[in-house]
Structures are given as structure tokens and as C-alpha cells.
Symmetry: C2
Subunit: 399 residues, 2 copies
Amino acid sequence: MSSDASQEQKHTINNGCSVSTGKVFVAVHSGAGNHSKANEYHKYICKKACMQAMALLKKKRSAMDAVTTAVMSLENDESTNAGYGSNLNVQGDAECEACVMDGKSLYFGGVGALSGVKNPVNVANLLVKEQMEGPLPFGRVRPSILVGKGAKTFCMNHGIDTNYNIISKSAFKTYNRYKRKCCISDSNNVAKRRKVEPVDEKINQTSKIGETLSTPSELIQDTVGAICVDQDGNVAAASSSGGIWLKHPGRLGPISMYGAGCWAQNRASDDKPGVAVVTSGCGEHIMQTVLAKTSSDGIRSSEDLTVSLPQVFKRDFLESEFLTAKPEKHGGVLALKFMEASDGNEVELAWIHSTNSFCLAFMGGDQKSPKALMSSLDESCAPGKSFTMGGYLACLERC
Amino acid sequence: MSSDASQEQKHTINNGCSVSTGKVFVAVHSGAGNHSKANEYHKYICKKACMQAMALLKKKRSAMDAVTTAVMSLENDESTNAGYGSNLNVQGDAECEACVMDGKSLYFGGVGALSGVKNPVNVANLLVKEQMEGPLPFGRVRPSILVGKGAKTFCMNHGIDTNYNIISKSAFKTYNRYKRKCCISDSNNVAKRRKVEPVDEKINQTSKIGETLSTPSELIQDTVGAICVDQDGNVAAASSSGGIWLKHPGRLGPISMYGAGCWAQNRASDDKPGVAVVTSGCGEHIMQTVLAKTSSDGIRSSEDLTVSLPQVFKRDFLESEFLTAKPEKHGGVLALKFMEASDGNEVELAWIHSTNSFCLAFMGGDQKSPKALMSSLDESCAPGKSFTMGGYLACLERC
């Protein structure tokens, strides 16, 4: 651990609340990023997503369908960077990605560079379900991840609208604000170096030089996600994102990447706990550290989530050898551990982040309403170099 | 380990050849699959790729450029399932993927669902090089993986032809042979279940029922790859693939997936060896086991490559909890370990596969010609359930 990092790290555990929460549990987040005045609204949408997932869980629907429903609810809200209202790429298009992982079958479904589809996470859910049906005739392997035009073809074959407008007015306004100077610089640089014309001339002609631009941390936007345990003790995880502002068209981030954006593994016969993880933050940092799988591996190999999660986050993310060139590492992890206790089942929930804020909500089956919170780094801590953590312990009825 | 697996496993080590090979080393493969009569030709193209990479290494070019050149050579050969001659998807298009990882910077570049580009691996190489230039203005993160139309835009911006014909006559003939019955069945099934019209009606109208179709193992095709050590002791890895026959358009396989298709990590200051790994075989199996990274992690944590590689391959691939639903697991790994010895540097090379065959070649800097071989499973062993392994030890001059 570097001495700088050790000085700046902060670690607060809010663990210990112990209540019976029925057989099921769900937790959602609307992103590890920079939340400010919209705090209360973000808490509200997280609560709403929790309740929609819980309604399904109480009808004995699967963990996979519950996390998908929670993420669809967040995708449908304009304020999140997922589905409608997603960040726009450098060409002014919204290209989304989403993933679902089922802890029972261990199948993963992902979509990337997908435009014009209202709920990308629903497509990822369908990809998992089709894998569960077994191989295609003559042993042909079913796809796990689909991107771009081919992902649209899959949607059309499944009766999903591929002409839905997911570009919000607000996203378009922000796009224009960020675009002006960024792209003049970039295009000129590319053109000089490569001796080719920039592709997005039309946009450049309307640009103005001299506007004050955002700092890098302001450009880091939210990915949403959900994790849960269903009445049969199965776990699942799902994430969705519009990717980073002004990204290159066709850029894949961690959410369509196996092991990076979500992970779920049921409790194993050898007494390893069930684990579900979703991640958020700077895409390339999350991908290069395969953060969801790495977190899950750490959690499964240790007894105490509140010990293993910060260990993994510090060693394998903030101090990762893969990120030494990055001055700041922006990420967040929401994880649950599901295990058998002497008098029932137990869900341990924890969240950790190096971003300024992380908005989340969670709910057990016998609770009337979800608990929502905006976890924030202390003002004295440097984002991208320090972290804060919180947790919650719930006792569940035995499945 | 299951008893069935233990009965069927075969493990042959051909290790021990010790020669001085100058400062540099390269190894390439043309795929873990089902080679038969074309054996000699596949050995020839592997040798040719080795020599092209070696010519660069002797000019003090980087490991990353050497593996890219080796893979470009294999992409350009019609007989491999990469670049020109790639397998066609269900719509009759060739959609390629490729990746490069640089062991020094640890940057990864990948492309997926890319059509009309002669050398996809060259695009992956450019993505790594651009990441080395640092972030874009205003902290915008450079892309690591690009897919589909956006990847084509990147190519156009870099003066790369995006209208190159990569569909060979032979690939088109094989496509028509496999297509006939497969797609009639699939489309009808999809249409019945989803109550939608199949998208590829035009092709279905020309189909004929009744042709004898291939077995699943015949449909598993080759991915090509290369690993090397350059004169500065840097390692790199690169892979390229056309994906599986009749895949869904837009399907991403392991080669564009971080950690699955290739991995490279230089020797670390804590005396962990340098490792470079490339994988081949059934894409979804390789992806679900994150096979390249998993193999590298195993190799780096053990002294002896010939012990760690089969351990990892058996535990984390053939007996992986993520592949329990798969009756056969088809994969191959080519790996090198680069370490300091008392009287110079040492490269240990090993290959392992559960497919019928694995064609490869390797060469040290002071050798006149590469050594090529077709490694094959013993006839008594069941492909997808058993494995064979081989290795080679080379002493290098100190960097």
C-alpha cells in the first residue's frame, strides 16, 4: 500500500442492523459518481426500483427477473446514465450496454453498442434465458454477448422495438456543452497525426472555442445495477450503462464484459457463500481489474464481507498493478453475501467506493419500504485515491 | 477431479531441449481444433509467421509489434479462421475479432464484430498504442475495445481500408453446406416460439432439407495467436478469430474479451516471471473461464510451468464449475514464462489442449528456422474431456 493512499483512506462500517427480512432481499444503486443536489431524487428512484423488484420476488419470480426489473426501472428514469437519458457518444448517438448474470446456471448475458432499445438489460436477460435452453441444433453454441447491429437483429427477432428514442433533451444539451471544445482539439490532433479528415466535420463547424470545460471527474458518469436473493436462495446481478460522455462510437465498456460489470454465484455445496456483485465508475478501470469477479472471488474466500471487500478494493483496484499509470481510480462496488446461519439464512450487504458518492437502496421481504442512502466520501478525502465503505446485515427466513 | 476425467486424461511432457536462442523468442499457433490432412500446410504457415515476427525482433522492434506481425501473417492465409477466410455468420458475413496485450504497459486492445478489414489484429495493436499516448484532452479515457460500425469508424480515421474482401470462396462454400439444414430448423423454431418471421428468409428460400450435417466438434474452428519476448525482455500476446460457423451476427467471442483470448505481463520487480498466454477453442468455454488470465495467474504463482499449466487447465477449465452443463470442453493454451536464471534468461514454453489437435511453431533468436509441430490427442482419449501437453525450454542471453 502506498503511503499516500494509506493517509487518505477512510473506512466506515455501519454494519450490525439485524432484522428478519423474509426469504428475499434486493439492493440497487444508481451509480458511483458525483451526485449533488439531485440526491433526494436519486434515493427516490433507487427505492422505486427496489420496490418493483420486491413485488416480483414476492410473487416467487426468479432473482434474475427481479434484478432485471429493478434495472429496467432505473433505465426508464431520465436522470440515470442507462437506457433513456444515456450519455451520448462523440457522434451524438446513445450506445448502451447491459449485463445480467444468474447465480444458479452461472450464465452471463451482455449487450454492447446498442442503440434505439428502451431496455438493454432486458435483452441481456433474454440472452441468459436462451442459453438455459441448451445449445442450438447440431451443437451450435448460443451467444452470450451481442453487440451493435447484430444485437439489434436479435431484438427484432424477439419483437423488441429497435427505434425507441433513448436520447433525452437533457443528454443532448450536455452533449453539446461538452462537445464544443473537446472535439475541435481531438479532431485537429487526429487529422494532423494521421493526415486524414476528421469524421465529424459537421459538428465541428458549429463549435465555439473558449468555453470552460469540465474536470475529468465530472465526466465520470453513473452505471446502475441491482443484486438480489430470491425465495429459492438463488442470487443474480444486473447492470446497465450508457458509457462515458463523448466516447468513441462502438466503444465497449465493462458492462458488456464478462466478469467486470456484474457477477453472481449461488451458494456452493462446499459451503462457499452465494455472492452477487455489481460495479460502477470509470469503465476502463473496472474492466482492467475484472472488478466484479475479483470482488466475488475475494468475498467467497473470506468469512467476513466487511474485511474481504475493502481488502480486495484496496489491493486489486486502488493499488492494482494494472492501473499504476492512472492517477485516480474511480469505482464503486455493491455486493451481497448469502449464507446459512444457525437460525436461518443471512444476507450481508456492503458498498464501497472511491468516487465522491454512491447512491443505493435495499429492502428485505418483510420490510414495508426500502432504506435508501447517499454514501459520500469525506470532504478531506481525495476521490480516486481514497474510499469509504458501509454495510448492512439482514437475517432471512430459511429457504 | 471426476473419475471419468482422470481415466481419460493424458499428460505428455516433451520438455528439456536446452539451447541458447539469443535474446528473443516467439511462438505461434494456428488453432486448437480438428486438423487432418492439411497438417503440413498448417505447420508451414506457423513457421512462416514465426519467421516474420523474428525478423522484426532482430531489428529490435517491440514484442507487441512482433506478435501483431505473426498474427497478421496467419490472418492473411486463407486456411485459418482469422482475417481472410474467416468463418461466416448465419447471415453470410465474416465478422472478425482480435486482441493484443502488451506486457509492459499492461494495456489491452480488442476489436469485435468487425467486417471488411484485412487485419483486425492491426487495429487492436493501434488501440493499445493510442492508450499508451495517455488520456484524451479533458481526461477522456481512450477506448480499449471497439466493435462493429464504431470500430470501422476508427479504421477509417486511421486510413485502414474497410471494404477489403475477407470472404474466401472456400468459406462461402462451407457456409452454404452448413447453412442449409441448420437455419431452416433454427428459423422455424424461433418463428414458432416468438411468433415472428425469421430475418434471413432469402437464404432459407434457397435451402434444401436432408443433407447430412457435421457433428458439433467439426463446427469448432481455429483461433490463431502469437506470444513472444523481445530484446528488452518485454512480453506480448495477440490472437485473432473469425468466430464460430453460423454464429449470430454481432456475437462477441473470447478474443475481444479482456482476459479470455490473450494475456501478457512482464516480469515483476517482486520476481514474478513474465508470462504471455494465448487461447483457442470453443469461445464461450474460454470466455466463461477467463482462460488466458486464469492460466497466467496460475503460472505466475508457481515455479514450474509444466506443473502449473496442467493444474490450471484441469481445475479451472475441464472441471470448471462454470462449464458443468457442457459435456465437452474444447480449448487450447499456448503459454510462455520468461524468467531470470543464474547464467542468463530462460524461456519456458508449454502447450496444452483438449481438442483433437493444436498446430504450433516456435523459434529463438539464434535459430535458423522455427520448429513446428502438430500436437494431437491420443486416439484413445475423448476430445473435450481429456488433454495432452507438451513443452520446450530455451536459454536466452541476458537482456
